[in-house]
């Protein structure tokens, strides 16, 4: 083996070792502190949730949708296929008897949220009080959470935004969904924009863990159902008036 071969061998060895190190090391060594602050300041003593009475939800009324859009600074930009919709009015019709149901559908704030499970960076997270949120600083925009959400409740920001509201941070290339008006909850409003806006009293906000709260009493007296109950996700948004 001549000298040049030896040098080449050494160089290739070192270069390969460096490359292997670069590819493997991040998984082993560079686990920077995860968003440990998520959940701080809130407690699992509460589990915030919504109760929606579909018997009161009127067809054609989208006051909750309008209120959500206004509260969080959402607006149509490039049409319904790519616009963010944190809450939508859904009309359902029974195939056999023609029974019609109307209801708002948004992030169901699942206790066992598939979006939280699948998010590779932990950007989708559940607060101690049950609110499922997206950390805008660590969302990489892979959209795996959107694939995993059984309620199609998440939207991807498809374009540049210039008019975000300070309490509802949004950003191009990241995923977002209903925050249960977390900014209002954290400042003690004890309600959400959609609940406030509903003119028919079809929506109720409250603490599902507190047996004395109005929402818990209502659920206790009339019962409630979860959308796609078979998936056993223990949703924080409950419905009345839908088939078991």
């Amino acid at each position: 083996m001549n000298k040049i071969d030896q040098y080449r061998r050494k160089f290739l060895g070192a270069a390969s070792a460096a490359f292997v190190g670069i590819t493997i090391a991040p998984g082993i060594l560079l686990q920077a502190g995860n968003a440990a602050t998520a959940g701080q300041g809130v407690s699992d003593a509460q589990r915030w949730g919504l109760l929606i009475d579909t018997n009161r939800c009127e067809p054609g009324c989208d006051a909750c949708v309008q209120a959500c859009n206004k509260e969080n600074g959402l607006r149509s930009i490039h049409g319904p296929k790519t616009d963010a919709q944190w809450i939508r009015k859904v009309s359902l019709k029974n195939r056999k008897n023609g029974h019609v149901l109307n209801m708002p559908v948004m992030c169901q704030h699942c206790a066992k949220a598939p979006c939280v499970d699948v998010c590779p960076t932990g950007a989708s997270f559940k607060r101690a009080d049950g609110i499922v949120l997206v950390d805008k600083h660590t969302c990489i925009g892979c959209r795996y959470c959107m694939m995993a959400c059984p309620y199609k409740a998440r939207s991807f920001v498809h374009e540049k935004l210039t008019d975000q509201l300070p309490h509802a941070p949004r950003g191009k290339g990241t995923v977002e969904s209903c925050t249960l008006c977390v900014h209002k909850i954290d400042r003690g409003d004890n309600t959400t924009a959609c609940v406030q806006a509903c003119p028919h009293g079809a929506m109720m906000f409250g603490d599902l863990n507190d047996p004395d709260s109005a929402i818990s009493k209502q659920i206790k007296s009339l019962g409630s159902q979860q959308l796609r109950k078979k998936l056993d996700l223990d949703t924080g948004v409950r419905y009345q008036g839908i088939p078991v």
Partner: protein, 367 residues
């Protein structure tokens, strides 16, 4: 040519990043499009391409030993191509460092990031054991690690879909083993394509019969597994409606599965191989490999896009309508940007493979 396609793909990715994804065909209904189809195809093909090396060093078939280096190179370059596409399609590709430093270990996607980067690292070590005679003694143990790693990697890629309980088309455990079996044929087809491009016809004569037979066996295995997947979904796993939609619906997906995947991607290559079309020359092998690759892409397109296009039921027995396309079969037309990015993934793999073949002693006849 590859370089031009790579530059075009980078331009497309830059444009998507700058403008936002509204310029693509993807939206809030079809969230994963052509870039994901290409990326997943390249990733599972990468694991499949390593089989030739595994057959030699793990299962002791000496005939394949001279082919092992190219097998490892193609595996690594295909994976780099696939990962590049998936990275450049992210909403925030600039956050690569976050993806590599923030791990949610309950996410199969996070595990896959480790599996993919690890595969490249192990592949390089494996290649070193083949290129350096002093490292020859490590080849078998490294080969075994690489083989196991590749099986886990492909199963992990299949599990990306297998764990999605929300969607009827995917929520099935067969996805992981199916991806492993599919990777055999797709990987070998990619390998043969690269081999035919760079190996002189004279050298090809030595290997052509056995490699052609191997490709035929892998195609049959992949086809059988796909039939089992669709059959199991249809009859056992309560997903009859979505299978009806994919296999017999009015949309493009039945055409893709029956015409593209079954006939062009499986039956035609098998016939060509069975009748030793053109004496299994390099040109005919290029054609057959291209058909298998096209069939694989079409199959994944039908599974990935079709699986998303089929609406998710909110309440059993009820049809739904909304402003967010509930109850509607979602439409998808890939944009030129996505196609450019996808082609760039193939071009990058080919360019890197070609570059490596030129610089190192990779091909069977290299001294």
């Amino acid at each position: 040519m590859s370089l031009i396609l790579i530059i075009v793909a980078l331009f497309a990715a830059l444009n998507m990043e700058h403008e936002g994804h509204y310029i693509t065909g993807m939206d809030n209904q079809i969230v994963w499009g052509v870039p994901h189809v290409v990326a997943i195809f390249l990733i599972i093909s990468a694991s499949g391409a390593l089989n030739i090396a595994s057959i030699a060093s793990v299962f002791g078939r000496q005939f394949y030993t001279p082919l092992s280096r190219l097998s490892t190179v193609v595996a690594i370059t295909l994976l780099i191509g696939g990962l590049s596409v998936i990275l450049l399609d992210l909403g925030r590709p600039d956050r690569l460092l976050i993806a590599m430093t923030y791990f949610n270990f309950s996410s199969i996607f996070a595990w896959n990031i480790i599996l993919y980067t690890g595969f490249i690292g192990i592949g390089i070590i494996y290649l070193w054991t083949m290129l350096d005679w002093q490292a020859d003694k490590y080849r078998k143990p490294v080969g075994i690690i690489a083989f196991c790693w590749r099986l886990i990697l492909t199963a992990g890629t299949g599990s990306i879909f297998g764990v999605l309980v929300a969607r009827e088309a995917y929520d099935i455990v067969i996805m992981a083993p199916m991806f492993i079996v599919l990777s055999l044929g797709y990987g070998l087809a990619c390998y043969l394509l690269v081999m035919c491009l760079f190996l002189p016809e004279q050298s090809w004569q030595v290997f052509k019969h056995r490699l052609s037979r191997l490709l035929a066996v892998f195609i049959v295995c992949g086809l059988a597994t796909s039939l089992f997947y669709h059959g199991a979904n249809y009859w056992w796993f309560d997903a009859q409606a979505v299978e009806d939609f994919l296999l017999f619906g009015d949309d493009i997906y039945p055409w893709l599965i029956w015409g593209g995947y079954l006939i062009l991607g499986n039956i035609l290559p098998l016939l060509l191989l069975g009748f030793h079309f053109n004496q299994n020359s390099q040109a005919s092998t290029l054609l057959i490999s291209s058909l298998v690759i096209a069939g694989g892409l079409v199959h994944l397109y039908a599974l990935i896009i079709g699986g998303q296009a089929y609406p998710m039921p909110l309440i059993e027995g009820y049809d739904s309508t909304s402003s967010f396309f509930d109850g509607v079969i979602a439409s998808y037309s890939p944009s030129q940007w996505e196609i450019m990015l996808g082609l760039g993934g193939f071009a990058l793999s080919l360019f890197l493979a070609g570059f490596t073949v030129r610089v190192f002693r990779i091909l069977p006849e290299s001294k």
